[in-house]
Amino acid sequence: MNFGVYWAQQFLNGLSVGSQYALMAVGLAMVFGILRLINFAHGDVMMVAAYIGAFSLAAQVPLPLALLLVLLGTVLTGLLMERAAYRPLRRAPAVAVLLSSFAVGQILQNGTLLLSRLINQPVQMAFPTPDILQGAVLFNTFFGDLRLSRINLVSLIAGPILLVLLIIFIRRTTLGLSMRATAEDLQAAQLMGIDTNRVIMWAFVIGSLLAAVAGVLYASQAGQIKPDMGFTPVLKAFIAAVIGGFGSIPGAMIGGYVLGFLEVLLTALPGYGDLIRGSASPEVVTFLQTYLPTTLSRYRDAFVFVALIVLLLVRPGGILGTVDKE
């Protein structure tokens, strides 16, 4: 195995996984920045997006219309949960709102279960990945042939574009300005005449849109959807957001990519010893095989969470963020 091809491929993988995490993490960070709420139901909004997509594609709705339905449905879900579960808790302690987001998640999951039952669809189904997202593209590069699945290609391109658009929106528009003001100090923003409820609603709209894109990409990649599919991604997105300093949007993007690379590294490094056997010195191979055996990669998620806990302790403000003084 060529050293260059292997790592160039891993780099591409990291970049596309990172783009997906960045999309999710930014959605979380938008809401957290303003409300100091860790919206755990964000993953379930992704799930809702995937199901709307799956049901409409299964019903032979043309792809553009299906995507429109997905966006509309998720935005509606986001607005509804903000109004029903989070707005009544504006003054409640942070933990209460966190718990309420778990309840929202349960309602969305069980609602999906119930709905698929009512319209006679299987709950756990294969995601009808659109044709344009199927297959892979081969790149002829300096290092050699690199393979990238179309889904990864799309996330790799769509992720940064959406995130740059978002940054422009936040930096350059009046609504973006009021969002930054509200995130800085909700009460002060209110006193300055900003309709904070409207700002919060927009934060949920944007968050849901990002969740919709991430949800469809995630479902296409996983190939299968089920009501609790949002749990792991939202945890990962949370880690990404923490890495970047919670509430900071550029931070969440960087955190997403850092996490993506970290995960790819944790899968690529164990077993590397087996891969380079014959081409490297036996001592190096034995060292790698002993300390980074292939089986270690199965503990990837555990390592990621240990890293999260260490990070929370050592640098609670993340890489870019500042410590939230209570």
């Binding site: 009544p88 966190l98 778990f102 349960q106 309602i107 089986t295 302790l313 209570e326």
Partner: protein
């Protein structure tokens, strides 16, 4: 919000009250055993397990305000450790791939008909979980607010990943089976009584008051000399012990389980019970499980009947939302069911009480 002062002026009344409650529970157990209905016994065993879980979580989270979402991880460890210890040696060879020293251990010794081995295995499981809780807690209890919630959720994920991948000990994601069904109603409610008594005593001790104090105001608590870390860690460790005990009990009741059983659904169920009952109230953590178990069971039957799966999950989550929005302190807040009052009523009815009607009840101390 504060724990109300308990002024025990009449130990007799308290004991009578406790005796009545215990009597009712024993009567229910006897009735259930006489009925021979495995279904109802199962429901009450599960209820008892949930009571232990909810009270333990209350100690760690309700009393201290440091919300732990990782407790089910301790329960999983308790279930696996105790089950490995009580598994017959031939099953160990067949199902697991244990290191030599562990493969020959089979805690099945009895005293008369009393399975002391099971008790020992449960205690060992609880102790190992507490030791782990010392390490995990020493790290996590430094965090606060929602960060501790997510970090403890991380602990839950870590435990799950380890359980799934430590095939030699746990059979990985496959079902761990052939566990001896030791657990019966007496075991569960015996342990529930021990848990309730211990945590009740903690609540009204200096330790408990320190926990409540730092929950309300960390700075103020620190200024009166409370070591925040020690107070939180103590709660976390004791709580982990009883949570692991509940895990052992459940494992020896259900007899086969996999890591999937100990994940977020169960976590959310116990949190619902805790929040509905009231964070900070020991009796609330009995009321919550009773209410939610009854409701969940009724809804589950409805679901089975009309095949509309999801209804029960939605209803319980809605109930949870309604409680958290309209009654954030739960049904009981930090208040407790007054066993002494119950005892006094009974004593008075039996005319053992010396007071006449209209007299100031003696449970209020002079000067209040």
């Amino acid at each position: 919000m504060n724990a109300q002062a308990i002024t025990r002026t009449s130990p007799l009344a308290t004991w009578v009250g406790v005796g009545i409650v215990a009597g009712v529970v024993v009567a229910i157990i006897l009735l259930l055993e006489a009925s021979g209905s495995a279904f109802w016994q199962g429901i009450f065993i599960t209820l008892g397990m949930f009571i232990i879980l909810a009270v333990s979580l209350n100690l760690a989270s309700g009393f201290t305000g440091v919300f732990s979402l990782g407790h089910i991880g301790f329960m999983a460890l308790g279930a696996y450790i105790a089950a490995i210890l009580t598994l017959p040696v031939e099953n160990k060879e067949e199902l697991l791939n244990l290191p030599g020293w562990l493969a020959t251990i089979h805690l099945d010794f009895t005293v008369g008909t009393f399975p002391l081995g099971f008790l020992t295995a449960t205690l060992i499981a609880g102790l190992i979980a507490s030791l782990l809780a010392v390490v995990v807690g020493a790290v996590l209890m430094r965090l606060s607010g929602h960060f501790v919630a997510v970090a403890t959720l991380g602990f839950l994920v870590i435990v799950r990943v380890v359980l799934i991948n430590a095939d030699d000990f746990t059979r990985g994601a496959r079902t761990f089976s052939n566990v001896t069904p030791y657990t019966d109603l007496w075991w569960v409610y015996g342990w529930a009584a021990v848990t309730l008594y211990t945590i009740w005593r903690i609540k009204f001790s200096a330790y408990g008051r320190a926990m409540f104090a730092q929950r309300e105001d960390v700075a103020a608590a620190r200024s009166v000399g409370i070591v925040i870390m020690r107070s939180r860690l103590f709660a976390f460790v004791v709580s982990a012990f009883f949570t692991a005990v509940a895990g052992s009990l459940w494992g020896h009741f259900i007899t086969s389980f996999s890591p999937n059983a100990f994940y977020f659904d169960l976590t959310f169920r116990v949190i619902t019970m805790l929040v509905v009952g009231g964070m900070g109230s020991v009796s609330g953590s009995v009321v919550g499980p009773v209410l939610i178990t009854a409701l969940a069971e009724a809804l589950r039957r409805l679901e089975d009947y009309n095949q509309l799966y999801g209804i029960s999950g939605i209803s319980l989550a809605l109930l949870f939302l309604i409680i958290i929005i309209f009654r954030p302190n739960g049904l009981m807040g930090s208040r407790e069911f007054d066993v002494e009052w119950l005892g006094q009523r009974v004593l008075r009815a039996l005319s053992f009480g010396r007071r006449r009607e209209g007299e100031k009840p003696e449970r209020f101390p002079a000067g209040e």
